[in-house]
């Protein structure tokens, strides 16, 4: 091994390998997808969605008003009563299989659209977001005609109309996580995509048309916080499913408490990635990197707190700092890019503010020496060492490419520090000793635990949090419970 500090790639630099964007033709303007057709919003108001890597305007998107939300909910209600509740499970199953296939057929288009609208590397949208979205529809397609065997009673009923609010970090995948189980269980849906990433949901609306899904079964309404708020408050909605920040989730739970709607929340996290001294070093370094820099760290389950055993802390930190410098940051459309653009100016500001606190509170900062593009929203991958549990960067979700490194001596201390948070979404454990990883896993208060891996997702695997990371599961048999009247 050469000089670890000489980390620039030099002659090993990659030539650009840009993906073609010709496969996607966005419309200039999109309406709201209500009752099976694109319609103009009642207010004729719209907003723009931009490519965060270039700040280029991609399309104008309708802003759904309270009246539009009402129209969408009524369409969903009508579809539920007149069509969808009368369609057999086997029929629902086939619609979902169709949707899955159509996503696969148009996967390249979806991947490019996602990368343009979100800023994530094309490698990730192509290999993770889009295939997983299709797989999710495939998985739940198979449940639609088998609900009586799912362990929720002999004749489980759907809830009715589900209002679903999704975030901007995995736009298409989150739409799939919400729609697939809801439709399989027999509900109709009003889906509200995130303000900054509406385009793949609107492409999905085209897929639903191609699948000949009956009108009104899925309605997709774009808008901002006021749109989501109107959906949460609408008396015609039976269930709210929300993925987003804990602060907004708390507000939604308060609002829903009075309306008595069913509710599931998938909220923030401050995942601990625990590294023992016997962990396989190369895999572990890659796992830590993937755990925090995947999707620019815009991941609710990101391994944003590294807890490393003191005896190997110096070595691990040295390797991490070197590895971070090798991450290729830049054009998300380049197939070699590891870290893409920050999704919005607002998110960039939040990351910048919290990292400034990191320095002010005394942590030691290592920032990648990568060259950032002139236009767009960018943040160089960053590692903080010497972080204390009381620091803001150890307590608050940064939702960006920033890793906080803390140390521990004993397994007990690792567990105590990992659980020292109000969140409880995901954790990682790295050790060659199987008995120790399971011992730690048993004691972590988290909904998902990755042992010797991180950020793995599968439609058959339940995902969701404990404590202030929310409640309810998405994925697997457990994911059906969120859309059945079982409590």
């Amino acid at each position: 091994m050469g000089d670890l500090s000489d980390s620039r790639l030099g002659a090993m630099a990659y030539d650009p390998a840009p993906e073609s964007r010709a496969v996607v033709a966005f419309q200039d303007a999109y309406g709201l997808f209500i009752d099976g057709a694109f319609t103009n919003p009642s207010s004729h108001e719209s907003f723009v969605t931009t490519n965060p890597a270039t700040e280029e305007v991609l399309a104008h998107v309708a802003l759904a008003s309270i009246a539009d939300v009402d129209t969408a909910v009524l369409a969903a209600r009508r579809a539920y009563e007149t069509t969808w509740s009368k369609v057999s499970g086997a029929q629902r199953s086939k619609y979902l299989f169709r949707i899955a296939r159509l996503i696969q057929e148009r996967s390249r288009e979806f991947a490019v659209a996602e990368t343009l609208d979100n800023g994530k590397p094309i490698r990730e949208s192509r290999d993770i977001d889009v295939p997983l979205a299709a797989a999710h529809f495939f998985y739940y397609a198979g449940w639609a005609d088998k609900l009586e065997f799912a362990g929720f009673g002999a004749n489980p009923h759907p809830l009715g109309v589900a209002g679903q609010i999704i975030p901007w970090n995995f736009p298409l995948l989150m739409a799939a996580w919400k729609l697939a189980p809801a439709l399989a269980a027999g509900n109709t849906c009003v889906l509200k995509p995130a303000e900054t990433t509406p385009l793949t949901a609107l492409l999905l609306a085209e897929v639903l048309q191609q699948a000949e899904l009956p009108p009104g079964v899925v309605n997709i309404i774009t808008g901002d916080g006021t749109t989501g708020s109107a959906l949460v408050d609408h008396p015609g909605v039976d269930k709210i499913a929300f993925t987003g920040s804990t602060d907004v989730g708390r507000l939604i739970q308060q609002r829903v408490a009075l309306s008595r709607k069913h509710l599931t929340l998938e909220l923030g996290g401050k995942g601990a990635n625990i590294v023992f001294d016997d962990a396989p070093i190369d895999e572990m370094i890659e796992g830590i990197i993937d755990g925090i820099f995947f999707n620019q760290g815009h991941v609710c389950c990101a391994g944003s707190r590294l807890l490393v055993q003191e005896s190997v802390a110096d070595d691990v930190l040295r390797r991490l700092v070197r590895r971070v410098d090798q991450l290729r940051v830049g054009d998300p459309m380049d197939k070699n890019t590891d870290v893409g653009a920050i999704n919005s100016a607002a998110q960039l500001e939040k990351i910048t503010e919290l990292t400034a606190y990191g320095e002010r509170e005394g942590a030691t900062r290592y920032t990648s020496t990568c060259v950032l593009p002139d236009r767009g929203y960018w943040f160089a991958p960053t590692i903080f060492a010497d972080v204390a549990q009381s620091h803001r960067i150890a307590r608050e979700e940064i939702f960006g490419p920033v890793l906080s490194v803390l140390t521990f001596r004993t397994p007990e201390e690792a567990v105590a520090k990992a659980n020292n948070t109000t969140y409880g979404l995901a954790c990682g454990v790295w050790s060659e000793k199987g008995s120790r990883t399971l011992w730690v896993a048993q004691r972590l208060r988290a909904g998902v635990i990755w042992a010797n891996t991180y950020n793995r997702f599968d439609p058959a695997s339940p995902f969701g949090g404990v404590r202030e990371s929310g409640f309810g599961r998405e994925g697997g048999r457990h994911g059906l419970e969120a859309y059945l009247d079982v409590t």
Partner: protein, 282 residues
């Protein structure tokens, strides 16, 4: 005319962390039989008592969950044994509290004890019924297990002094939670008696904490407490339930509304699905 032997009356106290204190506030309140006769001066728990109980429950939960599922079943069955041998005493309390005739009270006590036996058998089956292996695409062994939410607050039903109390309080305990319960305000004595029996059933201290007192005063503290993970609102009306659910949302609590759910739903209400991915390789 004084009776031949003067009955020794019992002091009805709280159950916190395995001990039976009077309220730290020193207060008590009078409860009457359903027919209006004086029954007892019951400890009037304070908000501080509720907070002390939550601290005890948090510590006890780890101890309780660390025991084997088999062992937790043994402890619950042991409580059923303790209750069985004191059926008549429980029935007398239920009869007084609820204004039932003796046979009806005995039937209610029998159902409560049988529910405990049913629960005792659940401890080592919940994981198999609610958990399982997940066939993921990749070299991972992936399994999901139901794990306890942690500390569960229960506002016990007001009318059914023992049966509904057992139903609500022991469901979260079966699946590994520790409980702080606010007993029925006007009919607390059967719950207090059952609490005394837990002392001889090998429950770790603090797994079950019973606070008697005024529901309207104590429930908001339980609902707002940031170290309480779940809340069962069995014993409040819809309006108060709305108010408490609103407060509980402040720390994203799991809330079970009155009237929702059958017996299995109660077991499911305060568990979390914990999913572990473990790599497979040579």
């Amino acid at each position: 005319m004084s009776p031949e032997r003067l009955e020794v009356k019992k002091t009805y106290k709280l159950l916190i962390n395995g001990a039976f204190p009077r309220s730290e506030s020193g207060r008590s309140y009078e409860v009457a039989t359903a027919r209006g006769a004086f029954l007892a001066n019951v400890a009037q728990g304070s908000r501080k008592d509720v907070r002390d109980a939550v601290v005890a429950a948090r510590a006890a939960q780890a101890v309780w969950w660390a025991q084997s599922a088999f062992n937790r079943g043994q402890v619950l069955y042991r409580l059923a044994e303790m209750a069985e041998s004191r059926r008549d005493e429980l029935a007398e309390h239920v009869a007084h509290a609820e204004g039932r005739r003796r046979p009806s009270a005995q039937l209610s006590v029998s159902r409560a004890i049988d529910r405990l036996v049913w629960y005792a058998g659940w401890t080592d089956k919940v994981a198999q019924v609610l958990g399982g292996a997940n066939p993921v695409a990749g070299p991972y062994f992936n399994f999901s297990l139901p794990v306890p939410s942690g500390v569960v607050g229960v506002v016990a039903e007001q009318d059914s002094s023992l049966e509904a109390f057992v139903e609500a309080v022991f469901a979260p305990i079966v699946v590994g939670n520790a409980v702080v319960v606010i007993a029925s305000e006007q009919r607390p004595t059967p719950a207090v008696l059952l609490g005394e029996m837990t002392a001889t059933a090998d429950f770790p201290d603090g797994v079950l904490n019973i606070v008697t007192g005024f529901t309207g005063e104590l429930a908001p503290t339980l609902a707002a407490h940031e170290d309480v993970d779940g809340l069962d609102l069995a014993g409040v009306d819809e309006t108060f339930a709305d108010e408490l659910a609103l407060v509980a949302a402040g720390s994203i609590k799991r809330v079970l509304r009155p009237g929702r759910g059958d017996a299995l739903a109660r077991l499911r209400a305060f568990v979390e699905t914990s999913t572990v991915w473990h790599t497979i390789g040579q």
